[in-house]
Amino acid sequence: MSRRVVITGLGVVAPNGTGIPDFLQAIQNGDSGIRYNPQYEEFNFHCQVSGVPAFEWDHLKNYVSEVTFHGLKGEGIGYAIKAALDAWKDAGNILDAENDTLWDTGCVFGNSVSDTGVIKTIIARVDAKEAKKLGSRVIEQVMNSGPTAYISGRLGLGNKVITNSAACATGSQAVLMGYEYIKYGVAKRMLVGSTEHVDPYIFGAFDSMRVLSRKFNDTPEQASRPMSATAGGFVPGSGAGALVLEDLDFALARGASIYAEILGGANNSGGQRNGGSMTAPNNEGVVRCLQEAITNSKVQPAEIDLISGHLTATIADKMEIRNWIAALGNNGTKFPLTNSLKSMIGHCLSAAGSIECVAVALQLFHQFVHPNINLEDPNPEIVEMIGADALPTTCLKKKINIVAKANFGFGDINTCLIFSKFEDNGKFENNG
């Protein structure tokens, strides 16, 4: 029997909204979460804006024990805990510290680097010859598996517990891995997502690569401009996104309500050949990935109503559009609506894919297409390829059934997921 995989819970910590209700409202309104970042100016970055979630650290006391909270410093771990446990509760579960191990439920949660703030603490202590003052709580926060370890331990998850990392493709790769474990019968339920803490060390290095936005430091909300003629690099973002994925029968048996269904996906690499490199995709690899995802999902390209692009606001945007055209076999007429959440929240690196997947699930469930903001001057080359009508600049309330979501990461890694509205569900009928 071919299993179906559905999304039953969502959690998010995003620059323009912490928690699903605030985030939903923000992406419908087109609210930017990008602000001036004084630290970046102090450090002489070209880019002096970023997207940092409004996150109250003490709020974590509602999620972890007092003993765990004491000594918890890693910001990315904090984001991950909140997003993941919110998703768990949203799926209709309770936060039980005493439950037995849940052998049917696993976790794939990704990140790109462990918390550099905690790493800095270790380096300072060791260099000051005070290593013995470090204590027991720093390793768990600098191991890459820190977020998954905190999440799975809090919930007692006993199936696969995996920390994935694929640069900017991390989040959607985590979702795909969770989908596959359920699809292939390894797990009944997977808590998936990814996290990223915006810190000056990682983004300082990106700043040095001249890939960050630098011409809109005085107007931060306009700084993230995917697909625009004035796009000049991406805006650092941070946060976490989390989704509870379940075997449909398992979800129905426990009376869960359903946001959307995942029909399939694909993950590959262009091998850093034929134009592909550490930092640029082999276009053939991208097209193959998108096509495989569509084929695996048994949908026709013409059925795709919305593309949730990677679209970061670099020169790669037009290449991405060209690759979608090739993958869909589309001649540019009636190109699917296309949006980039990054216009509102910047590029959250590892967390981008999971936050964008949360946005896709919300768009399918509530039947809308969020706007591309800062697109008053669309790139003429992109308009020539797909037409301006494919690029909504206001929130569209409309019927959408199938959404394709892709992310591409350094190391020439590609991921694409195909989501569908879940039709036969009371939740949709009541709230759509």
């Binding site: 024990s65 003993v67 709580r137």
Partner: protein, 90 residues
């Protein structure tokens, strides 16, 4: 804090409660500690956190607790004993 040389056992035990507080969820057990109280068995403290308690105690009492002494610190009584010993060595 009063002069460390004049602090008696009871005063150190009361101070120790504050050091232990962040590491145990069982506040009732903490308020009822005596010299026999075992940190791991009775206060349900995670064994990895014992090292954090030792580091916090070093800071609080301005002492250094060597590895051999630290290994003795499994009960409230042995903690107080080691802390007093190190304070008088200063």
């Amino acid at each position: 804090m009063e002069n460390s040389k004049t602090m008696d056992k009871q005063a150190i035990l009361e101070e120790l409660k504050k050091v232990l507080a962040p590491y145990t969820a069982d506040k009732a057990a903490l308020s009822a500690i005596n010299e026999q109280t075992d940190l791991i068995k009775d206060l349900k403290i995670n064994s990895a956190n014992i090292i954090d308690i030792i580091i916090d105690a070093e800071t609080k009492y301005d002492i250094e607790i060597d590895v051999d002494s630290a290994e003795k610190m499994s009960s409230v009584g042995s903690c107080v004993g080691v802390i007093m010993e190190k304070m008088y060595q200063k």
